[in-house]
Symmetry: C2
Subunit: 335 residues, 2 copies
């Protein structure tokens, strides 16, 4: 899922996302509730109409941002009080309010409200148990029959806690199961081990599995191998805005002097607008000149390339070439 | 002509320009010669291939920017020496070098090198006479048979000088005649009177006439009424980036609080991507959120709206409704 934090995948139109092959996108409850507010979006017909995207939208619950972005946070069993990172105004999120906001936004998939803590903090168990209580309350507060709700497995990098959390969350009547609290500074080995424990606990549970906030090309293979179906990550658009593009040959920095005379496209195998119409030399010029078209074209490319990688990944699972593709991408992006 | 100063009409792709109905665009010799340099663009196949625009391109001669943007300028009869506004490096432009640069860029229309001065400066006559000598040298230095060259009428706001300049420039074998040195701070009445004198002097000269750096919707009608065929102006994209959009009902500021709940498009009569897919409320949100999609969509709209106005203007000349359209646009944009 390309990430549209403020109801826009940065620099891209809905048409760009369709051309890139996006099937579903993510929007952020925390940001949209602060500005322009969920009530305003509801009055304007919901988040699909608001942003002009008629495909599926998943909204997160706001939990991650409350615990990573907001200021002066106070958590109690009922919910979290915090001040906005925008204007210092006071706000409160509870499982019930997080579900109400997501019902107002009208996303296709809502996420249960959860508590995120540092995986090495002493209160990982407390936060996990609170997340389970909040999961039940989120389910009871679900606002609309046309909206799926996914629960979130927490528990840091402790295998026992993750096992306990995966069992607790999968025991509830969610339409999907997410893994939260990863990609927050733990090692690659810890992420893989945690996903192993979750996969083992979930067994053949048929519901879709979503790894939140991941990730890089290599991380996605690690996770798919452990049963994950769905991802969201700002990385493709965030690095694009700095001039970094992803190709079948690895990363390329469009600010690199050597590219100023390179007449070839970013990636000859890519069919995106940037690769069809423009050279590396032109993009290098646009970045040097500080032109807005530079981050736009780089974002178009990275999102297209990433979604094409996902298509190839799905094919590889069907035709038995997954390991080969995984190793090739892993080697290319390790450089 | 939408203006692509650095070989990009800010925020827009060539596809956006085609959708907006652009027939020809302008690129700036001064900027492109400093970065990425004319030689580099020539090695990459010329400015059309460089920016991915296969329609006509007109390049200015660099004169205007040397006299408005560059630092530490020294002019002599041979040309002008100046330091780059980017990095302080020393450069020299002469009529011969300006034509050489434009030949390297490979534009469809090149402009003769001219000297711009404040219309009230004491050396308006000197600058005009120098412009005439440079016009002859520009013609002698024309670099390629597939490139038209336009001469530039100068002379400030002095009717006698303008008459003399229009006669001198139209006496040379240019493929088109431009009027320079306007829209630099003179009054609307002075601009109109100057265009009257030029029109009278040119009589029924059949060559295309181009008013440089103009303009606003109302200014364009003033000029068309006085025989001008071609315009360039950064205004549609520049004001768009600040949130100002142009509509059949006049100017609209997308940062206006009242628009935050407005579900309608910028202009219901407009067929651009912004008006087809997005509400004023969404655009108001994007501007408030500082999202890159905001200036992009506002630019798409303003360029589309302006080129549609030009189509209506051309029709009005054929069907006898020019005065009616002029007065309506004049009244709408006077508010």
């Amino acid at each position: 899922m390309p990430v549209g934090t403020q109801a826009t995948v940065k620099a891209l139109t809905p048409g760009d996302l369709r051309s890139a092959g996006a099937q579903v996108i993510l929007a952020n409850t925390y940001h949209l509730n602060l500005r322009p507010t969920a009530e305003r979006i509801a009055r304007l017909g919901g988040v699909h109409r608001f942003m002009g995207w008629d495909g599926p939208i998943l909204t997160d619950s706001g939990g991650f941002q409350v615990f990573s972005l907001a200021h002066l946070r106070r958590v109690d069993d009922d919910g979290a009080t915090f001040t906005s990172h925008l204007d210092g105004s006071r706000h409160r999120l509870t499982p019930e309010r997080a579900m109400e906001i997501q019902a107002l936004l009208g996303s296709d998939v809502a996420m249960a409200f959860d508590q995120l803590v540092d995986p090495r903090a002493p209160d990982v168990r407390d936060a996990m148990e609170r997340t389970h209580r909040w999961a039940e309350r989120s389910l009871r507060a679900r606002g609309r029959p046309d909206q799926a709700v996914f629960g979130i497995v927490q528990g840091g990098v402790d295998p026992e806690l993750r096992r306990e959390s995966a069992a607790a969350i999968s025991g509830l009547e969610f339409e999907g199961i997410a893994v939260g609290g990863l990609s927050v500074g733990e090692s690659k080995a810890e992420m893989a081990a945690t996903l192993d424990v979750v996969a083992e606990t979930l067994g053949d549970d048929p519901r879709p599995r979503y790894l939140m906030g991941v990730g890089s090309p290599a991380d996605i293979f690690t996770a798919v191998e452990r049963g994950i179906d769905l991802f969201d990550c700002v990385l493709p658009t965030r690095v694009a805005r700095t001039g970094q593009v992803w190709t079948d040959a690895g990363r390329l920095n469009l600010r690199n002097s050597a590219l100023q005379d390179d007449p070839g496209p970013i990636d000859p195998a890519c069919a995106c607008e940037a690769c069809r119409n423009h050279s590396r030399a032109y993009l290098a010029h646009l970045f040097r000149a500080g032109e807005m078209l530079a981050p736009r074209l780089a974002s178009v490319h990275n999102v297209t390339w990433m979604l094409e990688l996902m298509r190839r990944l799905r094919s590889s699972l069907n035709d038995g070439t997954f390991v080969e593709l995984r190793d090739r991408v892993g080697a290319t992006f390790a450089r």
